[in-house]
């Protein structure tokens, strides 16, 4: 992945993926919004979200890891720790 991204840049890109994949208003996507409970994602949406993050950051997120990522904040921290 591009290691040069700042936390803020990662956060923005993660938000953008969430807005596009879940077709929600950007204002709804807070750092701690839950993909399923707050943003209405189902299992297909979650798969597409995972693929969206993978494509955006050129990484692979195994399902076992993605299962623990339920908010924008979780995803940002996961990417920062790769």
């Amino acid at each position: 992945m591009a290691v040069t991204l700042t936390k803020e840049q990662i956060e923005e890109k993660v938000r953008q993926v969430v807005v596009n994949q879940l077709d929600v208003d950007p204002s709804e996507v807070k750092l701690d919004s839950l993909f399923v409970d707050d943003l209405g994602a189902d299992s297909l949406d979650l798969t597409e979200l995972a693929v969206g993050f993978e494509d955006e950051f050129d990484i692979e997120i195994p399902d076992a890891d993605f299962g623990n990522l339920s908010t924008v904040e979780n995803v940002v921290n996961y990417i920062l720790n790769l």
Binding site: D42, S43, L44, T47, E48, V51, E60, P62, A64
Partner: protein, 256 residues
């Protein structure tokens, strides 16, 4: 016939969705019968790598290919990798399946497209690519369907419709590819006990009901599928073409 001869020695088999469940079992059974296998996966890399090492432990080669089968370019690059690695393909089994499980009135365009792309269009594109890599002596193409294609299961709308399209494609390919000695068939099974069933609401209750109704009182298991797949992809099945074989313990013959 030499009892010790493995049925698929020297053959290359590509099984989509083979990191786990039925696909994984098929990969291992074809490897046991002497085939080198292509293990395609999408979201389960660890399980796919485990399946590959199990194939290798059986003395066969395993090529791991990650591909989202909803995307045409990923399907094409998977077959390019197969061509680069093995130079040919003898057996293509489209086992991968996905779906957004909803009642008919709740199915949306996104879920429909995804389901049809993975379950039906990936077979269309995959069979085209596979046939191109099959040698002059022929090969076999197999699709994994389910009797949701002509029966109604709760929440199964888009998957059922995708399986109907799949079975229809099997008939068209079977006729068109017969002249190239490529045999194309489908296996239609009911609920087979794998993790995939966890995605359906209220599945425990449904399974209990099915098992009770089964004339044989047991659900179809992955080995039942493998037994039929090994037969349908062999020369012994050369006069069975374009068929969807029900593997259901007889349950679909019964009235409710």
């Amino acid at each position: 016939m030499d009892e010790n001869k493995k049925r698929y020695e020297g053959k290359i088999a590509c099984i989509t969705g083979s990191s786990r469940g039925i696909g994984r079992h098929l990969a291992l059974q074809f490897a046991k019968e002497g085939a080198d296998v292509v293990i395609n996966y999408f979201r389960n890399g660890d399980e796919a790598r485990k399946t590959a090492s199990e194939v290798e432990a059986l003395g066969q080669k395993a090529l791991l290919v990650r591909a989202n089968l909803a995307q045409e370019d990923k399907i094409i690059s998977m077959f390019k990798k197969i061509e680069e690695t093995y130079g040919r393909l003898d057996i293509f089994i489209h086992n991968a399946a996905s779906g957004r499980n909803r009642e008919a009135m709740e199915v949306d365009a996104k879920g429909w497209d995804w389901t049809l792309n993975v379950n039906s269009r990936a077979f269309l594109l995959g069979a085209q690519q596979a046939a191109r890599l099959m040698p002059e002596e022929g090969g076999a193409i197999l699709a994994l369907s389910s009797f949701g294609s002509d029966r109604v299961f709760p929440y199964y709308t888009s998957v059922g419709a995708s399986k109907a399209a799949l079975e229809s494609l099997v008939r068209y390919f079977a006729i068109e590819l017969a002249k190239r000695k490529i045999n194309v068939n489908a296996i239609s099974a009911g609920a087979v006990k794998t993790d995939a069933l966890n995605h359906f609401p209220e599945m425990d209750k449904t399974l209990e009901k099915i098992e009770e109704k089964m004339p044989y009182h047991r659900l179809v298991d992955p080995q039942d599928i493998a037994n039929l797949a090994l037969f349908l992809c062999s020369n012994e099945a050369e006069m069975i073409r374009g068929q969807t074989i029900r593997l259901d313990g007889g349950i679909t013959l019964l009235l409710p």
